[in-house]
Symmetry: C2
Subunit: 511 residues, 2 copies
């Protein structure tokens, strides 16, 4: 987990991971004498992904790493020079060579926080030119991580807290790091682990995996294991020839199920035997390479029962195609009858895993807007009202009920006093025509200080800690907001002063 081991993270921290327009704009600022102007950027999103009423914020650790490593090498500056006009003042490139984030300050939600539309995820302060160059990489690092974590949290809500959820998407991932990011933040969002070994090695994500169809179809049944003998799980009993025992059990199982003993595929059975010899304590079957009921299941049962005789307990079976629910129900029934028939009660409770495509219905857009530069609040007013951005540097609070459930998120100007627990205050829910009053039992400051002028201010939690934090936060969210379909929108409100400022700026724009 050491950072120096994580070549992917180092690669991601390359300062040229940005859009060329950020660099041309940097030259524009520099030429306008504004490189050192103080700027505050906020990053937020406008709509929750997947039609839900919440998102999880993730990617903070990557942002912190990026900021702390930010520095343009000579080769980077030379490359940029090759893409800018040849008569560009060389002093601009000298300026680029000296850049780092030692004047940059980062406030952010804790990793794994619940996040709502319009509430800043990150606030970045520093010299305008540097902060502009950070925009694309920070968006890139936060957007996908938060999307994946939110998706995982939704699937966790569907599955409930007990079911085991594994992410197996590497082979279909958006390139190597797309896969690494997806595995990491699926875990943060609530999955139990991933098949991605590199995510385990580099990020400490629990990894899991058994076998795939290619293993099974690679056996014809004529293979002879070099070491077919298996000793009992406990005790001093003699080792037995596993394939021979499986053959005996196959006849019993087929008689019980009313199948011909020739029906189950011999290659599939040889594959199961090979896997059982390698993993007697963790035998699992993948049943749908041929026919689930006429081949996969009887072969699995024969191997599981032969292992059972030796004191080993099969761990589970997996289905990867067809009508998963119907098959799982049928199989559960057969496991029960087989367990009773052969007096192996543990067989009833063998886990059934199903795998298929986890479709993320759409990729939500996490967008960011420049909010405030040089202390002069300014609103981005476009002809698309949806895109209005709140002006000024803001503070954000989560107001909570006595039971810890969030009531609303409050945005106010940074200089306003904090809301106090137990005190009533009047706020303007976004989109509402009228103010409302609210009396929070608890108040949380949402945006913590993580990096102050380039220095880390507090230790970053581990991935597992952030995962636990996310699950606790989700647990406190009211069911109406947590609902995945047609949820009630969570309220984000403005303080009276912020509301008044928005009103005055909006009026000004229609002149």
């Amino acid at each position: 987990m050491a950072a120096e081991e994580d070549a992917e993270a180092l690669a991601a921290a390359r300062p040229l991971l940005t859009d060329l327009y950020q660099v041309t704009m940097a030259l524009g600022y520099w030429r306008a004498g504004r490189a050192h102007d103080h700027a505050d950027f906020e990053l937020f999103f406008r709509r929750c992904p997947f039609g839900g009423a919440f998102a999880l914020f993730a990617g903070l650790r990557d942002c912190v790493r990026f900021l702390r490593a930010f520095h343009l090498r000579d080769a980077d500056v030379q490359f940029l020079a090759s893409k800018l006009p040849p008569d560009t003042d060389p002093a601009f490139f000298e300026h680029l060579r000296g850049l780092d984030c030692s004047s940059v300050t980062l406030r952010a939600l804790p990793e794994g926080s619940l996040a709502f539309p319009g509430v800043p995820l990150l606030q970045v302060s520093g010299p305008l030119l540097v902060v502009q160059l950070l925009e694309t990489p920070l968006l890139c690092l936060v957007g996908y991580a938060s999307l994946v974590a939110t998706n995982a949290a939704r699937l966790r809500l569907i599955a409930g807290p007990e079911k085991r959820l594994l992410e197996l998407g590497l082979r279909r991932a958006q390139g190597p790091d797309g896969g690494l990011t997806a595995s990491t933040y699926s875990y943060l969002g609530g999955f139990d682990g991933s098949s991605n070994v590199l995510a385990g090695q580099l990020r400490g994500v629990p990894v899991a995996g058994t076998l795939a169809h290619s293993f099974i179809t690679s056996f014809s049944g004529s293979e002879v294991p070099p070491e077919p003998m298996l000793a009992p799980a406990v005790g001093e009993g003699p080792a037995v020839n596993l394939p021979a025992h499986v053959k005996v059990w196959l006849e019993r199982v087929c008689a019980h199920l009313g199948l011909g003993v020739q029906e189950p595929h011999p290659g599939e059975r040889a594959a199961f035997v090979a896997y059982a010899l390698a993993f007697p304590q963790a035998f699992q079957g993948l049943l749908d390479s041929y026919s689930v009921c006429r081949s996969g299941l009887p072969n699995f049962l024969a191997v599981a029962l032969a292992l059972g005789e030796l004191g080993y307990r099969a761990v589970g079976l997996r289905l990867d195609s067809g009508d998963l629910l119907r098959q799982a129900q049928e199989i559960r029934g057969i496991l029960q009858s087989t367990a009773a028939r052969f007096q192996m009660p543990w067989l009833e409770r063998v886990s059934i895993t199903v795998s298929n495509n986890v479709d993320e219905e759409e990729l939500a857009r996490l967008v960011q807007e420049l909010v405030c530069v040089g202390g002069q609040p300014r609103m981005k007013l476009t002809e698309d009202l949806e895109k209005q951005t709140l002006p000024g540097k803001k503070a954000a609070f989560r107001l909570l009920d006595a039971d810890g459930s969030p009531l609303l998120d409050l945005l106010q100007l940074a200089e306003e006093p904090s809301p106090q627990p137990g005190q009533e205050l009047r706020v303007w829910p976004r989109g509402a025509q009228e103010p409302r009053t609210v009396r929070p039992a608890q108040v949380e400051l949402l945006l913590g200080l993580w990096v102050h002028r380039g220095q880390l201010c507090q230790p970053l939690p581990s991935l597992a800690e952030s995962r636990a934090f996310a699950q606790r936060s989700l647990g406190n969210l009211r069911a109406a907001h947590r609902r995945l379909q047609s949820p009630e929108q969570y309220q984000v409100a403005l303080s009276e002063r912020l509301q008044a400022l928005v009103g005055s700026l909006s009026t000004g724009s229609s002149l």
Copy 2:
């Protein structure tokens, strides 16, 4: 472009970029004495993405790099040991330590080829255990690259050959490498370039970019450029104060357009002036930060005309929201009338760029199946007939008409003689009940030998060469197949011998 510069590529070449089930299966093979069995894998897809009738194959260069670098370090092996049963035979880990791809052979379509369902993209041959470990990374490297390239090719077909297409997706990309991969393969598929600077630095993708809303909204209009003077583009004339000239031109433009001179936003104009001072030869405007017609366009025209007086020609303008087509048409009309009014005819032809979300409608699945191990053809028969895989090691040919347009792709057994130009042959189109005859004017061998027992056999083309190859290939494809909506499916056919083998295996399975 040097490989050692490309830290991302090195990171992507990490051997643990694989699924844990590949490793458990490797142990299963090893325990079964099958680690050195000869295996052939083929990678193909079943359906073209985006509802089309073609895909572009991409990712070969990354696969070749992965194979050549493949080696498990001690730390990798130790990590794997920590995830496998503690009683695993240490000899297995010794075997892993000695692994490389020196016995692996790779055949593949050329990078940028047209690819069709069921026709192999890659054929990988070598020892079973190694080849199994390669499955996930090769799928990961080819799948996303091909998907992005295909998407780009479709957008290029929509846009036609002349329009400039830029990929600007980094800020919304699936993590840093997801972005780098997308930028690289959008270019290969037919885009002109990307905003992603790292893709330019590491992969040679042409990069482009100008300015974003944040630049414009960061100016209030009260800024004073430290160097407001601009010299004429050519000749010896005196430098002029650009902001002052812009002010004069703004009055003329507003009078021409019937706008009050106070309406255009002064901050937007200050931003345009700052950008023009930095890029007088390449001035562009982004018009929709405030109101396009009442602010963005008059401000742009004032700056463009002031530059025009000095002999500079504005490059273009950009729209990023609203009804792009309608606005572009209106603006073209205003450019024409303004060009006529002020006798600056070049202004008529200023380019109008529109940017908005390029929605990839769905992520297609590129899947792979184990086809043949140990020389024994075997078919993966599942209860889902869609998933049937063709048996045996195959050769693939593209049969072409006299005008170079592809007629069909032919799959046959590797040992069959190649089809000959001008000779009639009988083939079985997939899914058809009857054979057909075809007389190709030209025959192309589809799967070239790229890596033979670990050694590169022919130089990989450059990214730009592959891009040109893709465009030529697409140009030769019949319009009916190239059509994006409801295209005619391109025929993939089997030789008579392969068809007979499929028939015998299918029959065998129903015993």
